[in-house]
């Protein structure tokens, strides 16, 4: 084989430029071992390629170096995480710009999911609070009605109590029950009788307090105390010198049990 002709055939240039086929490459590598002049020619051709490429070099932006180093570090981290590597399905490799876009969109997706969860929990929390407020508002409205009713009653009672024809008859406790007190308000014109139990113990089960009007020394039934809140209207009484309360069987008695006299007061003349 004419080695000099081989060297000058252009096959070495083809090899260095990367366009030689497999058979040419194999032959060249074999001859390179046998003939130092072939090896030298390859070295010379590589030097030529370097010089030529340098002559047609294209300047790169200054910032490119730091960007590229950052990109290399990033790709390094991807390859040096063997823990997750085996589980990865084969994926289409993206260009670096695409890779950043994909990473950015994954981060955005994760952020969006997190925000969705956060806002949903906020929404349900707010809804619970709203329902709670609705219930509270309903309760307040009902309470308000109760107070309005009670206020109307009290206003009516105030009318009653401020009537100039009204007589106030305080009834202090009987002997042995001095701490007890009840007051009768008696309208002499309308004959209406009202009672406030200022201090009477709750009646025992099966018993009720009964008011009596003392007319000419005789007790006249003036009715039993129901469970009225403050001012209780009892039976009308035409004339009386005194009022008294006894504890009787529930429903009242036709005649008072004087051993159970609780309070008594004279009508001022």
């Amino acid at each position: 084989m004419d080695i000099q002709a081989y060297i000058e055939s252009g096959v070495i240039e083809s090899y260095v430029l990367g366009i030689a086929n497999e058979a040419e490459v194999a032959e060249l590598q074999r001859l390179q071992q046998q003939h130092p002049e072939v090896a030298d020619a390859i070295v010379a051709c590589e030097q030529w390629l370097r010089n030529t490429a340098d002559r047609y070099a294209a300047p790169v932006p200054l910032a490119g170096k730091d960007q590229l180093w950052a990109a290399l570090q990033a790709s390094e981290e991807q390859t040096t995480s063997p823990a997750i590597k085996p589980t990865l399905a084969p994926v289409r490799s993206l260009r670096p710009a695409g890779r950043y876009l994909a990473a950015a969109s994954l981060i955005l997706l994760a952020g969006s999911i997190a925000l969705n969860i956060y806002f949903y929990s906020r929404y349900t929390h707010a809804q619970d609070q709203y329902l709670g407020l609705l219930t509270e508002r309903g309760t307040l409205m009902a309470d308000n009605k109760v107070y309005q009713t009670r206020l109307n009653t009290l206003q009516g009672q105030l009318q009653v109590l401020t009537d100039t024809a009204l007589l106030k008859v305080p009834m202090p406790g009987a002997t042995g029950r001095e701490q007890q007190l009840a007051t009768v308000y008696w309208n002499r014109q309308t004959k209406d009788v009202y009672l406030i139990s200022n201090n009477l113990p709750a009646a025992p089960a099966g018993k009720q307090y009964q008011l009596w009007a003392i007319v000419d020394g005789k007790p006249v039934d003036a009715g039993v105390l129901g469970d009225c809140a403050s001012l209780c209207q009892l039976k009308n009484i035409g004339a009386a010198q005194a009022f008294a309360i006894t504890l009787e069987q529930a429903g009242g008695s036709p005649a008072p049990d004087l051993t159970q006299l609780q309070v008594m007061g004279k009508v001022p003349s």
Binding site: G18, A57, A71
Partner: protein, 164 residues
């Protein structure tokens, strides 16, 4: 030093080879916007495969040069494929090119073939810059494979003589 992949090693590689490899890439891609992406991809490959580089089989530059060329041709192929799939939007990068770049004003390493005869030039274009095999070129140009081989060798020898 290079195989330890320190920032210092990277700095050395970049300072000595980035512009030259960019010229190699631009010679194939002919689009400065895309060549920057390819340069980055080439450096990523070099960085990852530096352990497989065998100094006894050639110079470091030759090794990187071949990575740059094959990566660029891969990009060119994928771009052509994409272009055939969808219409290009007429952004500045595409409308400006013909005015900025007259005939013969090639970019990067492609400038080196400007002095070749037309019949040689087309072979180097197809074989080296566009990555077609000589068998494919034979079919494309309807020239026997033997003739393609002979002319290609002659073109390269001519190139080596012209560009010193």
């Amino acid at each position: 030093m290079l195989k330890q992949r320190t920032q210092q090693a990277f700095s050395y590689l970049y300072d000595n080879y980035a512009a030259t490899l960019n010229g190699v890439i631009l010679g194939i891609i002919q689009d400065p916007e895309v060549s920057g992406d390819v340069l980055q991809e080439v450096f990523v490959k070099v960085w990852r495969q530096i352990g497989t580089y065998d100094p006894s089989k050639g110079r470091l530059f030759t090794w990187m040069f071949n990575i740059a060329r094959t990566t660029s041709i891969d990009m060119l192929r994928s771009r052509e494929w994409k272009n055939s799939q969808r219409n290009h939007s007429l952004d500045d990068a595409h409308t400006d090119l013909p005015e900025k770049r007259g005939i013969g004003e090639e970019m990067g390493l492609r400038k080196m073939i400007s002095g070749l005869r037309e019949e040689h030039k087309v072979l180097v274009e197809l074989n080296y810059f566009e990555g077609y095999t000589q068998e494919e070129i034979s079919g494309m140009l309807n020239i026997p494979l033997g003739t393609v081989k002979t002319r290609m060798r002659a073109a390269i020898v001519q190139l080596r003589k012209q560009v010193q």
